[in-house]
């Protein structure tokens, strides 16, 4: 069915893309920026189509969002058409285990860097991506990938680093409550750091 959308708008791009791939609805964020869901297997050909046919030549970023409660990773491919001033974010949801996605380094060579980082920080595999197993930021990392939601930074810090004596950690909400309403806790002097009496 022909679309009435402006061919140079995100709606027009979405309509043409939807004729080729099983896309979700367009989720506009603001003028010139929208997100759309699509199946993992469709992402590389859809990105190729966007680059070659729709003028989205700039891969702005590739990153992941960990939806731990849904046992899913969301991969966001944000691509940009500078001439038309359009940004389109392709959202792909993949299972957390095994976390695997097709590489797009053959579409944008610079994607290999993003994929190395995602492999290291989220444990997402991109078979065939160059130097995927080389350390990118971490060296000799033995824990679960640190940017996963179930990686506990506080536990890791306590197990691996010595506590500096005398350091106080203040909860901002209770601290400000005490400063603003000292009569509620008359025993505590908010002007004295660490006074928890």
């Amino acid at each position: 069915m022909p679309s009435n959308a402006d061919p140079m708008s995100l709606a027009g791009v979405h309509a043409r893309l939807q004729a080729l791939f099983p896309l979700g609805d367009l989720a506009p964020r603001r003028a010139g920026l929208a997100f759309v869901d699509l199946p993992a297997t469709c992402a590389p050909p859809a990105l190729s189509h966007l680059r070659d046919r729709e003028g989205f030549g700039h891969l702005v970023l590739l990153t992941a969002v960990d939806w731990l409660e849904e046992e899913l990773f969301q991969l966001t491919y944000l691509v940009c058409n500078r001439e038309a001033r359009l940004d389109l974010g392709l959202r792909v949801r993949i299972p957390r285990e095994p976390a695997r996605m097709e590489s797009i380094h053959d579409i944008w060579p610079t994607a290999a860097t993003y994929q190395r980082e995602l492999r290291e920080m989220f444990g997402i595999d991109f078979p065939g991506s160059p130097r995927l197993d080389e350390a990118f930021i971490l060296e000799d990392w033995r824990d679960i990938p640190p940017y996963r939601r179930d990686f506990d930074t506080l536990r890791f810090a306590r197990e691996n680093f010595a506590e500096r004596p005398g350091r106080e950690t203040w909860d901002p909400a209770s601290h400000m409550r005490q400063r603003l309403y000292p009569e509620a806790n008359p025993g505590m002097d908010p002007s004295v750091p660490g006074d928890r009496s």
Partner: protein
């Protein structure tokens, strides 16, 4: 750079997968580490170079020496608590982090920023751009042994830091651009003192032009060297002055207008030759453009009106579910923040898109092949990379 030995038989052959067949035990090749402690390196990164004679046959970028897990830390903090973190992602030009993060939060939270705050934000971003370019010019000259230029530009940068201190109360990390606006208006007499600083800056830049850009040694070692092929711009995500020096007028300030840039009179600074010299010259002229923009801002900005929108209690601030991407043109190219919220009091995900992420890894690793060891530092500095925005 560019001095290739005609006989390629002594150089490594390509394997079927495209990698180089380098046999270190043959004695033909040598591994050299440039950095992380090395005068010819920018910031906390290192280059693993494989050389044959004095020619680089393979180079790999190593980062992570300054990794502090900022993006992860922000997932456990309230939206306002993220502010002391974001500015530390880029030391020489921290304000872009504050702006991009604040603008993303404002967009998802539906906050309207007052007009005066837009002008002050633009002023701060241009002041930060000047600081970053001054640091770059000193580094670019220093990479070729011209140490005095760095002393002059450091002096000029110090004058601009005085203006930052006067305006924000801090010299390096300003924490001035908050969601909803900025923390304060301009102090009395600021415009006059800024005008004086800009005049001093222009004098320094004239000296730098005569001493550096007209210098035979600088020209000999930079003209025609380290060329970025315009065909690489899209595949390698090249933005900012690196792209503009290749003749492509790519500037977020004009392409995706934000803040008050649509009300200012300017055109992107471009070059043609795409070599180290042209990139340095584009940045010098872009610096002068920032001087002009600051003069326009100070002449036209509103002197009255609110500079901060009313905010909810930031300690209990929950932002509706959503996601967005906000970008700006920093001194190195496109800087952006991708923010995802889930309705809680903490960001679900913050991803920082720094221009160095593409310039210092994939692009540099491609450009460094066939480079002479002595030119590696100049080439790397010419891409104007800051490692912390790679490893966040």
């Amino acid at each position: 750079m560019g001095l290739l030995t005609p006989d390629r038989s002594q150089y490594p052959a390509l394997r079927a997968d495209g990698s180089l067949d380098i046999d270190l035990s043959s004695g033909k090749y040598l591994k050299l580490w440039q950095g992380p402690q090395h005068p010819g390196i920018t910031g906390n990164m290192s280059l693993e170079l494989t050389v044959c004679g004095d020619e680089v046959v393979e180079g790999k970028t190593h980062v992570g020496f300054l990794h502090r897990g900022f993006e992860k830390l922000m997932e456990r903090r309230t939206f306002i608590q993220c502010f002391p973190i974001v500015c530390r992602i880029c030391v020489p030009e921290p304000d872009f982090n504050e702006y991009c993060y604040a603008a993303a939060v404002e967009e998802l939270a539906g906050i309207e920023v007052p007009e005066a705050a837009h002008w002050i934000r633009t002023l701060i971003l241009e002041m930060g751009r000047i600081n970053s370019y001054l640091m770059y010019l000193g580094g670019q000259a220093g990479a070729l042994g011209l140490g005095v230029i760095g002393q002059w530009t450091t002096h000029a940068r110090d004058l601009m830091l005085d203006r930052f201190e006067e305006l924000t109360g801090a010299r390096v990390y300003h924490l001035f651009i908050l969601p909803g606006g900025v923390r304060d208006g301009l102090p009395a007499g600021f415009a006059g003192r800024m005008a004086e600083t800009l005049r001093e800056l222009e004098t320094t830049l004239r000296d730098v032009h005569e001493t550096l850009f007209c210098n035979a040694v600088f020209k000999k070692r930079t003209v025609g060297q380290g060329v970025i092929d315009p065909a690489w711009l899209e595949p390698y995500g090249v933005t900012g002055p690196n792209a503009r020096a290749a003749g492509v007028p790519r500037d977020v300030r004009r392409d995706f207008p934000y803040l008050v840039y649509p009300q200012l009179d300017f055109a992107p600074v471009t070059g043609q030759d795409s070599d180290i010299y042209t990139r340095a010259d584009v940045r010098r002229r872009d610096l002068l453009l920032s001087v002009d923009l600051i003069r326009q801002i100070l002449a036209r900005m509103p002197r009255q009106g609110p500079f901060m929108a009313p905010l909810p209690n930031v300690l209990h601030w929950r932002i509706p579910p959503g996601e967005t991407y906000v970008r700006g043109e920093c001194s190195r190219g496109e800087y952006g923040y991708y923010l995802v919220t889930d309705g809680s009091g903490h960001p679900r995900r913050v991803n920082v898109r720094g221009p160095s992420y593409t310039h210092a890894v994939a692009l540099l690793e491609r450009m460094i092949v066939h480079c002479n060891i002595a030119d590696v530092a100049a080439l790397m500095v010419s891409l104007h990379t800051y490692p912390p925005e790679i490893e966040r």
